[in-house]
């Protein structure tokens, strides 16, 4: 007997073109609740576009989509250009506090939430300084904290690790995993890196070239918590190879 999973995000027959470039034609996908789903695909296959349509930043041309019980206060989106979405006139603390201020939370609650998150991240910021005084990696951690401070039920992340060096990349993956295991949100993660996808995701969705289809959804049975040690194992490479094979098909490499 199959285990029935809870679909939290569904997309049916989505259509979207930019000028004369057709990105989606009858595109469908469903995302399960409480899992990390990685989206992996060729350049220009509309990965970011999908997230932007789902969060109503970009309008669709046709089809329908639904995020169950969608609520801005329980939803976060970490943009690819996180640097440009931080507010340079606010201190690091005020940046992380912004979404809670928007929700009209009390000062005390905000302080408590940031404190909690800081413990989870095991990261000590100079809260009184400003984002422009931080390194790229720290700015990314700040953007992460800002997104997670509201304890979102649905989290979109667009290539979060691409600007980081490998060490910070691994660290941030560990933080994200820890957060995920604690709060079990539904995460849609766009990545260009197979290792990242296999490290974090339970489902890996491989996109085709335009017009984009879901080529395959690969189950990743590796148990959480997934340690750095796991990255060196045979099982890990098996999943990685599987994703690569599908990707090869997608790109005719």
């Amino acid at each position: 007997m199959m285990h029935m999973s809870n679909t939290v995000i569904s997309v049916q027959n989505l259509k979207k073109s930019f000028n004369n470039t057709e990105v989606f034609r009858d595109f469908s996908i469903s995302v399960e609740q409480g899992k990390i789903t990685a989206i992996f695909g060729p350049n220009g296959s509309g990965k970011s576009t999908l997230l932007n349509i789902l969060s109503s930043i970009v309008t669709k041309d046709g089809g329908k989509f639904d995020i169950e019980n969608f609520n801005h206060f329980e939803f976060s989106y970490i943009f690819q250009n996180y640097r440009e979405s931080l507010l340079p006139w606010r201190t690091n603390f005020e940046n992380v506090a912004l979404p809670l201020e928007i929700q009209n939370r009390s000062k005390q609650e905000i302080r408590q939430r940031v404190e909690e998150l800081q413990q989870l991240f095991e990261f000590k910021f100079d809260w009184k300084s400003y984002p422009y005084e931080l390194s790229g990696g720290q700015q990314q951690i700040l953007a992460f904290m800002r997104a997670l401070v509201t304890k979102p039920k649905v989290l979109f992340i667009d290539e979060p690790f691409s600007a980081l060096d490998y060490e910070n990349n691994l660290r941030l993956r560990e933080h994200l995993q820890k957060y995920f295991l604690t709060f079990k949100p539904t995460i849609l993660l766009i990545t260009h890196n197979i290792e990242e996808a296999v490290h974090l995701a339970e489902k890996i969705v491989v996109f085709s070239q335009r017009p984009t289809k879901v080529l395959e959804v690969i189950d990743n049975p590796l148990p959480y918590p997934r340690t750095i040690q796991l990255l060196k194992t045979e099982q890990f490479h098996q999943v990685k190879d599987k994703v690569l094979s599908v990707f090869q098909k997608a790109t005719n490499l």
Binding site: S55, I57, N71, H72, Y77, E84, S85, P88, L98, I102
Partner: protein, 247 residues
């Protein structure tokens, strides 16, 4: 200030001194720089020019504050709605492009030969600059930050208070700096008109008419120093409050 700051002024005074020494220009019309600077110190020390200085500063500050109090909220408001701004853009651009000094006779007719007409013309012209720059600052705010706040569920008012307002500040400050300079220019010019009894403009024109040439130069120099210091003040404020801009 860096030591290079002084190279320009020293060079200028040197050229001035040489021109005066060689009498390339009639000494009567161009006293040497040391006479002029000496005269300025004398005017300041004796208090002979303090009243004029205060009168001018007084008018400039009042004109600027009026421009700020009306222009800033109006600029923010217009910037929020591009449609309304487009509606009044022509009027703003037209009056912004009209030399404000050309409007002074009109203001004299309306407000009479009083301080009010001087302050009004300076406030009017400065206000347009503040409106224009503030509105542009709001309209040209980075989309990525607004989008981020929208996704967090921010209301329009929150986005305005926490993002748009701040985004507009660098451009607003450019407007404020231009506005204070323009206020000074217009106040000095209008002080030269009939019916004024005090002010640096009055002093300049009076000393020119009575051929007190060193006093004229000294007063021009003082007006320049005032303009420079006002500009400097705004640069310092900018550095202090907009430490984050361009980062």
């Amino acid at each position: 200030m860096k030591k290079h700051t002084f190279i320009g002024p020293i060079l200028l005074i040197l050229i001035w001194a040489v021109v005066a020494k060689l009498q390339l220009v009639d000494r009567f019309f161009l006293p040497d720089p040391f006479t002029t600077i000496g005269k300025l110190f004398q005017l300041l020390a004796s208090g002979a020019i303090i009243g004029d200085l205060i009168a001018t500063l007084d008018r400039v500050v009042i004109a600027f504050i009026i421009a700020l109090v009306i222009g800033l909220p109006l600029g923010l408001l217009l910037g929020r709605s591009e449609k309304i701004y487009r509606g009044v853009e022509f009027i703003i651009d037209f009056f912004r492009s009209t030399p404000a000094s050309a409007l002074f006779p009109l203001f004299l007719l309306v407000f009479g030969i009083t301080d009010i007409s001087k302050i009004a013309v300076a406030a009017f012209a400065s206000m347009l600059i503040i409106i224009f720059n503030t509105a542009y600052g709001v309209m040209h705010a980075k989309k990525s930050r607004i989008l981020a706040a929208q996704i967090m569920g921010a209301t329009k008012t929150q986005i305005f208070r926490w993002i748009l307002f701040w985004e507009s500040l660098p451009q607003t400050f450019i407007g404020l700096r231009s506005a204070v300079s323009l206020s000074l220019v217009l106040i000095i010019v209008t002080e030269m008109f009939i019916g004024t009894t005090s002010g640096l403009g009055r002093k300049i024109i009076d000393s020119q008419i009575t051929y007190e040439i060193p006093t004229m130069y000294a007063t021009i120099l003082l007006a320049g120093i005032v303009g420079y210091l006002l500009n400097l003040l705004f640069l310092v404020l900018e550095k202090r409050f907009l430490h984050w801009s361009a980062k």
